[in-house]
């Protein structure tokens, strides 16, 4: 799937991946690939600006992990959870609408 096709959906995808628990940047990208069966193979570096933007917007929070390796771990904030709920509802409505046209 090309990066252009994901335009406008990357935020929801990141929020969706983090709904299962906190992850660092590399793990988020791996989860996007794994959960999409390899279809979402977007340029890896482009996820990081989105993570920083979502954090600046208050949808994510992050901190350095205390482990063998120093990693920035991201998690959903309460506002991020609400936003994910909105995005899921919007996506469901969109899929239903497009299905209604294409599935006939």
């Amino acid at each position: 799937m090309r990066a252009e096709a994901l335009k406008g959906h990357l935020d929801a995808l990141i929020l969706g991946v983090l709904a299962e628990g906190p992850l660092h940047g590399y793990a988020i990208i791996e989860q996007l690939k794994r959960r999409s069966g390899g279809s979402l193979d977007l340029p890896e570096g482009t996820v990081y600006p989105a993570l920083h933007r979502l954090e600046a917007a208050g949808l994510l929070a992050s901190n350095w992990s205390e482990g063998a390796r120093r990693r920035r771990v991201y998690r959903l904030t309460a506002r991020g959870k609400r936003e994910l709920g909105h995005r899921r509802a919007e996506w469901s409505a969109f899929v239903r609408a497009v299905d209604g046209v294409l599935a006939t």
Binding site: Y26, E44, P49, H52
Partner: protein
């Protein structure tokens, strides 16, 4: 030069502050350690993406923060006016001094500029709230409006303080103390909003697109006869301001001075539009 060194240089040239730059580099280093074959992308494009995405969020935040600060400052000024119980105007006309006149003009002109710039900053930020990224020109417009709004707000506060000081022998001492305290509080509130504007101004977003204009900001509120005719719109607004100030003069049984003030205020509106119109993307 290594990939990370090139990325660091590009991030710096995109205006990303050093602390955030260090964090980005640490994240990318961790990513490359986990997968040395990872294709993270062109450093220059990545740096621009960081500037565009963070620039959008920070510019919107600057606009909303400035507006909130101006709203609080506006309430403080209203409290000072209401508690003055018209004694300030009466005393000002009896004892108009250079200091008092200067302060009054600073408060009147500054207040109008702050209201327009701050309000339009918040309006543009609200209209683009769903956009992941806005153009670099739009981000700069938000920051300029927020910055001019805060600056004009500070001028208003100082001007009102000067007016209160100039009238100190003609007003109750408790009111002078209250007015100066409210002005000081307003200056603190507006100053507290400044870091958000400065943080946004550091970034240099480059996303393509226009800065927009007043017709786009006001949308359906803008009458169709005035749409995309900024100077005609400015003339109408200046005329309305002149009429309102003149009516206020009539109501205060001061028709001649009221008309003069109305004319001066209308011309000041037009001058402000001429001076700041392009800078604030009003035209």
């Amino acid at each position: 030069m290594s990939y990370l060194e090139t990325l660091d240089r590009e991030l710096a040239s995109a205006g990303i502050p050093s602390r955030r730059r260090a964090r980005i580099l640490a994240e990318f280093a961790d990513h490359l350690e986990a997968d040395p074959q990872a294709e993270l992308g062109d450093p220059s494009q990545l740096a621009h993406q960081f500037a565009d995405e963070l620039g959008t969020t920070l510019a919107r935040r600057a606009a909303f923060t400035a507006f909130a600060g101006l709203a609080v400052a506006g309430i403080l000024i209203v409290v000072a006016f209401v508690t003055a119980q018209s004694q300030l105007f009466a005393s000002a006309s009896r004892a108009s001094s250079a200091l008092g006149n200067l302060g009054a003009w600073m408060a009147v002109v500054g207040g109008q500029v702050a209201f327009v710039a701050g309000g339009l900053a918040a309006l543009r930020a609200f209209r683009t709230r769903r956009d992941e990224t806005i153009s670099g020109a739009q981000a700069r417009t938000l920051i300029r409006r927020a910055g001019v709004g805060l600056g004009a707000g500070l001028v208003t506060m100082v001007g009102f303080g000067l007016t209160a000081l100039a009238a100190v022998h003609h007003t109750a001492s408790w009111w002078t103390t209250l007015a100066l305290g409210l002005c000081a509080a307003g200056i603190v509130v507006l100053s507290a909003a400044a870091p958000a504007v400065l943080a946004a101004a550091q970034l240099r977003p480059v996303a393509a697109g226009s800065a927009g204009n007043l017709s786009e900001d006001l949308g359906p509120v803008m009458p169709s006869q005035l749409r995309d005719r900024p100077w005609r719109f400015a003339l109408v607004v200046a005329g309305l301001v002149a009429v309102l100030v003149t009516i206020a003069g009539l109501a205060a049984a001061d028709p001649f001075d009221g008309a003069l003030r109305g004319l001066a205020d209308g011309l000041a509106c037009l001058a402000g539009f001429g001076l700041l119109g392009r800078y604030l993307a009003l035209r």
